[in-house]
Symmetry: C2
Subunit: 138 residues, 2 copies
DNA sequence: ATCACTGTACTATATCACTAATACACCCCT
DNA sequence: AGGGGTGTATTAGTGATATAGTACAGTGAT
């Protein structure tokens, strides 16, 4: 389906793949309980090593995003509520990174705000519908 | 002044330092034209190798954030306008990352919006004043 | 001219991240 | 019991990261 990877991009393969899975889950492309491709199948499709896929799945499991079962497969985990304090701190960090990025790009606060609101609305829309016809992976 | 680094944190020293400088510039802690500590001085203070600091400065120069002059020192560069198309694409990526982060943290869209606006106001405030008494580095 | 400061360049080396190859272990179905 | 699917473990090779030492090169002041 989606997922692609560039071994020469400089950023580690497992990081690329991990980001894509996270994005797919967050955007509703992968729903709770849904099964992910097997380690081998995905490795074959992306022409990478099964261990690389395994590493991705392992890290995502540590982060509570997916769950793996030996002999059965890998599935999107049920979303759990995080600790409030951690949540706040992490969000603050993420927002601060955004501000730094925006500054470096010389984006003025007005367009930053506009684009943010636009993206937020867009995101809520994505989560609402099933989202079959999404163009993420291409 | 600020700047600290943890060799055991897993993330490369030069990445840590680079992020801090970028943040300092973006938040107005370091103003345009201001001189940064010399390669040697900073290396001594952080107990790291001068080459590591040099690498940071070199990469930041490539990104147009600072400028170096042999024999003189290293200075915060004048902010330049980026290409509009690149700017838009990069901002979009940053915003998308933020959305993924927020989803993983189970932050609802309402608080996300609130916190964003709060941070944005805060940031504008930081840039307005000189910002002596900032607690970033601790 | 000399000195004391700046950035820059090379080489060597140790360690660890990343990826790969291969083999092992578990689960379900027939 | 066996086969074919799953995740998991072990080992190893390659390259990036960081350290260290040493040397070079430009700038401004004395």
């Amino acid at each position: 389906m989606w997922y692609y990877v560039d071994p020469h991009s400089g950023v580690p393969i497992y990081v690329q793949l991990k980001e894509q899975v996270k994005k797919a889950v967050a955007s509703g492309l992968l729903k709770e309980g849904e099964q992910l491709p097997s380690v081998r199948e995905l490795a074959l499709r992306l022409t990478i090593n099964p261990n690389t896929v395994y590493k991705v799945y392992q890290e995502l499991e540590r982060e509570g995003i997916i769950e793996t079962a030996r002999g059965l497969g890998t599935f999107v985990a049920l979303k759990k509520q995080k600790d409030a304090a951690l949540q706040e701190a992490a969000l603050d960090r993420a927002l601060e990174n955004l501000m730094v990025e925006a500054y470096q790009l010389s984006v003025d606060s007005k367009t930053l705000k506009e684009q943010f609101l636009k993206k937020l609305a867009n995101w809520k829309e994505r989560l609402r519908k099933g989202d079959e016809d999404n163009d993420m992976g291409n």
